[in-house]
Symmetry: C2
Subunit: 414 residues, 2 copies
C-alpha cells in the first residue's frame, strides 16, 4: 500500500525473445500448400549441434503417426537436430499410409539439412483422417532449409506455420543465470480447440542453450507439464496429436544441470514460467474465447484434489457461458466443485470472483451486482475457491464459451 | 422386407396417459409467484393411499435442502402420500434457512391435504443460492389441493409446473399385465440444462398402481436409472437438486411384485421404457438443442466400458458442434473414443452415422458427403461405434451444441 514491493524471481523475461534466442537454434516457415489459404503451413526449428531432447505426448488411445515417429527419434539417441511441423492436416487415423508418410516427411527433411533421420522429429496438426498431400510436404521440406535463420522474423515464420484456428501466435522467452552464465529458455506453442488436460490439440516446442541431459530434461518437462499444459482446457476434448518437445543445445557452456546443481531450481522455475505463458496463451486464444479464465483452488486436502476441482470448474460449460455473459452465477461454480469427485466439506467453501466475495463458509454473501458485472467484463477473470480444509492448491486456465466457439466448430471441416 | 414384423413387447404404450393414469393419483399445478412470468411454478402429485416410495438422488456433494427432506420422508416409512415440487428457485446453497424452508414447505402442504409431514416429499429446481419466497410457497401450497384432479388437464398442470428452461413438458405412460391385471406405469420429468450423468438438473416422477414394496421398487429404480437417466448429457454439468421419485399405489390389486414374480420382467421393462422416454425427452429438449443425438457403442470389453465410451462421445463439445453444423467430422468421434480411458484396440474401430459407414477397422471409408449432410440435418442422429473387441454395449443420449445454448446460459440469472 503506497510502497513498492519488488518480487524476486529466478528469471528475467526477455522481451522480443523467441525460439531462436537460445544459442544454436535457427527456425523458419513457409506455405507449401496444405492450408487452403496462403498462410504458412510448414515450419522447422534446427539446432547446429545435436541437442539433448525430451518429449511429452497425448494420452489419447489413437496416437497420430507423427507421435510414433517422434518417439522413435528421441528414443534412438536422446538428441535431435531438428523439429519439422506441418499444420492443416493432422496425419491422424490415416493407417499404414499415414505412418509411411510421417517417416518420409522425416527422411526428406533430414536429407535436406544433412543429418541422420533419427535426429529429426515431426509433428502435425489439423484435420483428422485425411492423407497428407506428400508432394507438397516434400516440396516444402526441400525448400525450407534456405529459409531458416536466427532473426526474430525467422522465428515468427515458424510460430505462424504451426497455427490452425489460432488467432495469435504464442511465444515466450526468459533468461536465467547458471554458474554465472546467462542461459535462455524459449518456447512456441499452438492450440485453440480440442484443448484439454492432458495434452490436447496442442503443440509446444521449447529451445534452450542450457547444458542438460535428455533424461533430466524429460523428468523436469513432465513435472512442469503437470502444472501448466495439463491445467488448461478449452472444450474438454483431447486430441490425437498433442506433443511438447524440448531441445537443449548446451551451448551456454556451464556445468551440466542435474537436480544436485545449485541453479537447478532457477532453471526449473524458468522452464515452468515459459510453459505457463504458452499454456495460458492457448487458453486465452481458445476457439471463440473473449477472455482468459483462471481458477485458483486452495484449502483442499491435497494438491491432486485441488487440481481435479480446478479442472472441473474450468471445464464447466455453464460456468464458461456465465463468464461470457458476465453473469456472477456462483451457483454454477459450487455445483462444479461438488461434482469433481473430491473431498469437499459442504459447509466451509468460500468463493470469490476477483476480489468480490460471493460465498463465505458456503453461505451466500450479498455483493454489488454492478461491480461484479464490471469485473466479469474484463479480459481476465479469476475465480477463487477456498475449501478451508487443508493446504492443497492448484491453478487451472480456460476461457469463456461463446457463440463463436459454436460457429467455428459447426463447420470446421467444410 | 415387404413383410411386416410385429415386435413383441412386454408393455403397451398408452397414448394420452400421464401421471394420473395409474389408479389412486391426482395431480395439479398453479402459479404462486416464484417465476417472473405467469407460468406455473408449484405442482403436486397426491396419492389417495400411502404409496410405496423410492428415490434416487444427485451425486453432487452440495445436495439441496429438498433432497435432505425427501430422503428423510422416504426413510421414515417407505411410503409417500404426496410429492410437492416448485420451479423457479432450487433452494440450494441456502444454508440453515433453506433447510428450514424445505421443512416448512413440506409441513404446510401435509397439513393442507391432511397427511403426516413425513409422507410428503419436496423437490425444487431453478436458480441456486437464493432463498425461497416462502410467503408465495405457503400461499400456493394452501391453494393447490383444490386444483388437484385425475384429468389429463390436471396432470398437464403438474407437468408444466416443474419446468424451468424446458421448451416442452415430458411425460410417458405404459400398461403392463401382471397376474392378468392391467397395471399402469407413468412418469413426468423436467430438465434442459445442467444435465449430465449422474442425475443432473433433472427431476423425474413416476407413478404406478403396481403392488410393489419400497425396497424392491428402490432396487429396480436404481438399475433402470443407470441405463436411462444416467446415460443422458446436455452439458456435462451435474446439479445439486436431481431427484427421481417413484410412488406405487398398489391399487391394481395383484400379488406383490418381487424379483421372483413371473411378471417382474414385464414390470421392469415397462419402467425402463418410461424412464428412457423421459430421459430422451430431456436430451432432445437440451438447452438450445435442435436435435436428439444417440450414441450406440458395441463390441466393447464390457457394458461398463461401453457406457464410459458412449458418455464421452455424447459429451464432446466438438462432436456436438459438428452435429449442429451437420458436419460428418468422424475424426472428433474417434478422438473422443480414444480419450474415454477404456480399453480400445486402435486398429479395429468401425464408425457409422446412421447407415453411413465412415470408418471401418479404423481406416477411413469414402462416403457421399451430400447423403451425410442430409442425414445429419434430420431431427435425430444416431452415432454407431463398434470396437469389435467383445460383447459390451451401451446407449447414451444427448443433443447438439448450438448458439442458443450459449445465449440461454450467458444470461440465465439476469
Amino acid at each position: 500500500m503506497g510502497q513498492e514491493t519488488v518480487q524476486e524471481t529466478a528469471f528475467t523475461i526477455v522481451q522480443g525473445g523467441s525460439v531462436t534466442t537460445p544459442r544454436g537454434f535457427r527456425a523458419g516457415g513457409l506455405h507449401c500448400g496444405l492450408k487452403k489459404t496462403t498462410r504458412h503451413d510448414l515450419g522447422a526449428i534446427v539446432c547446429e549441434v545435436p541437442a539433448a531432447a525430451a518429449g511429452v505426448y497425448t494420452t489419447n488411445v489413437f496416437q497420430a503417426a507423427p507421435i510414433k515417429v517422434t518417439r522413435e527419434s528421441i528414443a534412438a539417441g536422446g538428441v535431435l537436430r531438428a523439429m519439422l511441423v506441418n499444420s492443416g492436416n493432422a496425419n491422424a487415423c490415416t493407417g499404414q499410409q499415414g505412418e509411411a508418410d510421417a517417416y518420409e516427411m522425416r527422411a526428406v527433411f533430414a536429407e535436406a539439412i544433412g543429418v541422420p533421420a533419427e535426429q529429426v522429429a515431426v509433428a502435425s496438426t489439423g484435420v483428422i483422417g485425411e492423407l497428407l498431400k506428400m508432394d507438397r510436404v516434400r516440396g516444402g521440406a526441400v525448400e525450407l532449409p534456405a529459409k531458416l535463420g536466427e532473426s526474430y522474423e525467422a522465428a515468427d515464420d515458424f510460430c505462424q506455420a504451426i497455427l490452425t484456428t489460432d488467432l495469435v501466435k504464442k511465444e515466450a522467452c526468459v533468461a536465467v543465470t547458471i554458474d554465472g552464465r546467462t542461459v535462455h529458455i524459449a518456447g512456441a506453442s499452438k492450440g485453440s480447440g480440442m484443448i484439454h488436460p492432458n495434452m490436447a490439440t496442442m503443440l509446444g516446442f521449447v529451445t534452450t542453450d542450457a547444458n542438460i541431459g535428455s533424461e533430466a530434461l524429460h523428468g523436469l518437462l513432465r513435472q512442469v507439464t503437470d502444472v501448466t499444459f495439463n491445467m488448461i482446457t478449452v472444450d474438454g476434448d483431447t486430441s490425437t496429436n498433442d506433443m511438447l518437445v524440448a531441445m537443449a543445445s548446451g551451448l551456454a557452456g556451464h556445468d551440466e544441470l542435474t537436480v544436485a546443481h545449485p541453479d537447478w531450481a532457477a532453471f526449473a522455475e524458468g522452464l515452468r514460467y515459459v510453459c505457463e505463458v504458452l499454456a495460458k496463451a492457448i487458453a486465452r486464444d481458445g476457439e471463440g474465447a473473449t477472455k482468459l479464465v483462471e481458477v485458483q483452488v486452495r484449502g483442499a486436502v491435497s494438491d491432486d484434489a485441488a487440481q481435479a476441482i480446478a479442472k472441473t470448474v474450468i471445464g464447466s460449460s455453464l460456468v464458461k457461458s456465465a463468464v461470457f455473459g458476465a453473469d456472477a452465477n456462483w451457483g454454477r461454480i459450487i455445483a462444479a466443485v461438488g461434482r469433481a469427485g473430491q473431498p469437499v466439506n459442504p459447509d466451509t467453501v468460500d468463493i470469490r470472483l476477483g476480489d468480490i466475495v460471493t460465498l463465505k463458509q458456503s453461505a451466500p454473501v450479498a455483493f454489488d451486482e454492478d461491480e461484479a458485472l464490471a469485473y466479469l467484463k474484463g479480459d481476465t477473470v479469476v475465480i477463487h475457491v477456498d475449501l478451508n480444509m487443508d493446504n492443497g492448491s492448484a491453478k487451472a486456465w480456460g476461457c469463456d464459451l461463446t457463440y463463436d466457439y459454436v460457429r467455428i466448430n459447426a463447420a470446421y471441416r467444410t
